[in-house]
């Protein structure tokens, strides 16, 4: 269910755009900020609130990488897999993270603590390998450093 707060935020987006559709992606992200992800029911409800066909909401909800369509863990790890980090041996760090967390890319740990996702170039190529955990950028990664970083996200 959209909360009153969701509706207020979506109304604010509508004020900035000349078409109702212009607020659609942001409306889905309003839901995600509160709920952590966007369910099928949320997609239907956002479309109804904006007076748009469900197909239009589904269309964008399935396209953008930062709109999560499955429940995610308390913390989301985005490990850069682009070329500069790859040259700096980021693939070994992926192997490390997978065995350390016991999950593959796209999965969430059984305790609901971490979700591991690949990320396109995070724009810190001179400090690679890099990853983001939630909103924090971590640079110059090594396996040992990753272990320490994970400890700080309970």
């Amino acid at each position: 269910m959209l909360t009153d707060h969701d509706k207020q935020e979506i109304q604010a987006e509508l004020a900035r755009t000349p078409s109702r559709r212009g607020a659609l992606i942001e409306a889905l992200r309003v839901v995600q900020r509160r709920a952590g992800w966007v369910s099928n029911a949320d997609v239907v409800e956002v479309a109804a609130f904006l007076g748009l066909p469900v197909s239009q909401a589904e269309d964008v909800a399935t396209f953008y990488s930062m709109i999560f369509r499955q429940e995610v863990g308390r913390h989301v790890i985005l490990l850069c897999d682009s070329v500069s980090c790859w040259v700096n041996r980021a693939d070994a760090l992926l192997t490390h993270l997978r065995s350390r967390l016991g999950i593959r890319l796209g999965q969430t740990t059984a305790d609901g603590r971490f979700t591991l996702l690949p990320a396109a170039c995070l724009g810190a190529c001179d400090r690679g390998p890099v990853m983001k955990v939630d909103e924090d950028l971590h640079t110059h990664l090594t396996a040992e450093k990753i272990d320490r970083i994970l400890e700080s996200y309970p």
Binding site: S65, A120, L122
Partner: protein, 428 residues
Amino acid sequence: MTPAALEKPLTGRMRADGSPVLLRAYEAAGGYQGLRKALGLSPKDIQGEIHRAKLRGRGGGGFDTGVKMGLMPPPADLPGERYVVANADEMEPGTMKDRWLMEGDPHQLIEGLLIAALAVEAQTAFLFIRGEYGEPMARLQQALGEAAAAGYVGANVLGSGRRVEVYVHPSAGRYICGEETGLLGALEGRRAVPRAKPPFPVVSGLWGRPTLIDNVETLCNLPHILARGAAWYLGLSLGPDGGTKLFGVSGRVKRPGLWELPMGTPLREILFDHAGGMADGLNFRALLPGGASTNFLLDAHLDVAMDFASVEKAGSRLGTGTMIVLDDRTCPVGMLLSMERFFARESCGWCTPCREGLPWVANTLEAIEDGRGEEGDLQVLADHVRLIKMSATFCALAPGAMEPLRGAMQYFRDDFERHVREKRCPWK
């Protein structure tokens, strides 16, 4: 300003500790003087100054910014809403320059965006920024709040009667949003599927209205061009294009980083003097001069001047000017695989050569790298390089993806053949 700061107009103000230059410091160092100058000029005269400065687009395309502004029909011919958009969706692999500009000196971008809006008589500006760029976004929001409170942004810019509203719009993710017509789709609440051109966005862009879209670094040049003039700006460059350029080096070099240098600085100077050459025990093999969508350059090309025409003559493109270095202990096939997987994943899926071709290329490279390569695989790769070109696709994503592969097939042929022959990656 000190002479050193003069040579680095885009980054000279930045603080050593990496904290952002806020309004008072920005103004004290000459900030918003370009905007004040622009407010006293006609849109045509602002465009003229930018045109004379020979400012070519810094997002990778290299299109002349003044010419692009001039292609927008004037309000007399086409009344109604018109827009400017800062393309801050930096996601070209190996590219970290716009993050630096936004984090270090956010007002500079806002001032550039305001000048662009005045130049094409737009009243609404969008700053479309990568969703993953949390820190740059926070700093831009803070700067925008300061700029609005000081009267630089809003209904009556510095009491001039001109209105420019600026909105920060975070992207919901994906590389294709950085393609300018894909970006328009994202802002309109659609999929970021590129549109066929023409019409170009300057004629029919956001919601069908004339829209000027420029890269962050491009826009950051505008305050300086207006404040100090086109002649000064041209003098910053060593070559035919005006200004300085942010150059970057990543990969296994001694000092990876970013530097603001004259446009046309020799490649060798950037790689060896600034980045310090290769890390200990490694030798230089090749580099991509401007992101993953540019072709490789070799040892023989190191004296090339880093400007648009010279790099093109050497068989590649200046692109974003942020280079990625391949050393002799790293597998070129593996490097290509990393890049082609990226491009295959980031394809929007709209047109067939890209949607079907790129996964085919990535899967073929994966087979070769994993020791499952077969005789005909190199031909499959060569066919894609030949067939996926600008006239065959809606946008530059897939043709760009073929650029490094084209060079790799030519320069690292032995490496590919050895993978297939030995049924393994010789670097593993």
